[in-house]
Amino acid sequence: MIETLKARANEDEALVRRGRFLTTTFLIEVGQTAWLIGIFEGRVVSVTPGPFVMPSSSFALRAAEEEWQKFWSSRPPPGSNDLMALIKRRVLKAEGNLGVFMANLRYFKEVLAKLRSQGAVA
């Protein structure tokens, strides 16, 4: 499913415009499975599945698969509806250079919400 992120994110012109000053690579872990997401000027340009030997990324978001599945459901339950909700419950670990993450927080919330089954309330 994460492979679809490139198409789902890039078709949202407003999202890409808001991210135009963002160029970075971040790592997402869904349980044991990792992906590197490359972003260039607000556009998702690569979604690379692991496993990796020496992955380089500005920051990483790590959570169990069942937590991501709840987050990506069409109407996530309370406590699973937002990245900050997952962080508050200590089930999502955000690690690395979180300055990039926080300075573009709306962008990252909305990009990851694109993986919801339909629509997206970020």
């Binding site: 109407r75 996530p76 309370p78 406590g79 509806n81 937002d82 990245l83 900050m84 909700a85 962080i87 508050k88 419950r89 979180l98 300055g99 926080m102 300075a103 927080l105 709306r106 919330k109 309330v121 970020a122």
Partner: protein, 282 residues
């Protein structure tokens, strides 16, 4: 095209607070029992716009909302440019009581959300005789920090953008888009470091866990209303407060989040109106 006006009137009040002159913006609408509205951290009195525009509320109530110093259209005090803003329980309580006295409010109903809900618990404990009833929205006794608050005020992160992005998920899923984004806009407009300074009260200084059970609802009725989708002050935390205070009344509002009066006024009023009715009949 015809212009229309809301029945809301705003004025600037000059008042000494904490020994310093302040210019405070106060809005009001309606007539009757005073209903004093306290906004959330990093926002302002516009959060209560729907209450001020709803005849079911304003027919029997004088709805009043002030912007706290540093917030909305209220200025920070002279000298602010070399200070770090940090809200304390003592300042917050003092400002509310001073403003009530200045406006000659006789035992108003207080309604406060988030930090306003927390201070509502402080008021219920320490000054119950000053209020007809107290309504705490999203009121918990304490919240542990769950992100690094320094991100809220540093030059390489836009303060307004990050504040709104942090709280965006606290809005419930059923909020109409217009009200959701109006609510977030207020956060985007906050001054540098103001949201962070409010959270000093919310997450550190205002911890009332050890004393909340001493609130005596025979002196002042206490109503607690919390949105189901609030992960900052969770329903469980509000229920814990309610369970420790005999006589308090609690409602968990389905589908609502952390900003019920602003994010989804139509749904919120379904919960608030019966509470106001109950208070009116006492």
């Amino acid at each position: 095209m015809t212009a229309t006006f809301e029945p809301v009137i705003g004025r600037y009040m000059h008042l000494d607070l904490f020994g310093r002159p302040h210019r405070i913006y106060v809005e009001e609408a309606g007539a009757g029992t005073p209903l004093l509205c306290l906004h959330t951290a990093g926002s302002d009195g516009r959060q209560y716009r729907a209450l001020m525009n709803d005849a079911r509320v304003t027919t029997g109530h004088r709805v009043i909302a002030f912007d706290m110093p540093w917030h909305g259209k209220s200025s920070p005090p002279s000298g602010w440019h070399n200070e770090e803003y940090q809200l304390t329980s003592a300042q917050y309580t003092g400002m509310i009581l001073e403003i009530m006295t200045a406006l000659e409010l006789d035992r108003p109903i207080a309604i406060g959300c988030s930090i306003g809900g927390r201070i509502a618990l402080h008021l219920a404990l320490e000054h119950p005789e000053r209020f007809r009833a107290i309504i705490g929205l999203q009121a918990g006794a304490h919240v542990d920090p769950y992100y690094d608050l320094n991100f809220l005020h540093r030059p390489d992160v836009h303060g307004g953008e990050v504040a709104a992005a942090i709280v965006s998920g606290l809005v419930g899923p059923d909020a109409p888009d217009s009200e959701r984004w109006e609510t977030l806009w207020h956060y985007m407009q906050g001054g540098p470091g103001v949201f962070k300074g409010d959270l000093y009260f919310y997450k550190l200084d205002g911890d009332i866990r050890g004393r909340v059970a001493q609130i005596d609802t025979r002196k002042c009725p206490l109503f607690l209303l919390s949105g189901e989708y609030d992960y900052s002050c969770t329903p469980e935390e509000t229920l814990a407060v309610a369970n420790s205070i005999p006589g308090s009344e609690v409602t968990i509002m389905k589908g609502l989040g952390h900003f019920p009066m602003s994010e989804n006024p139509a749904e919120f009023l379904k919960h608030l109106l019966p509470v106001l009715e109950k208070i009116g009949s006492r």
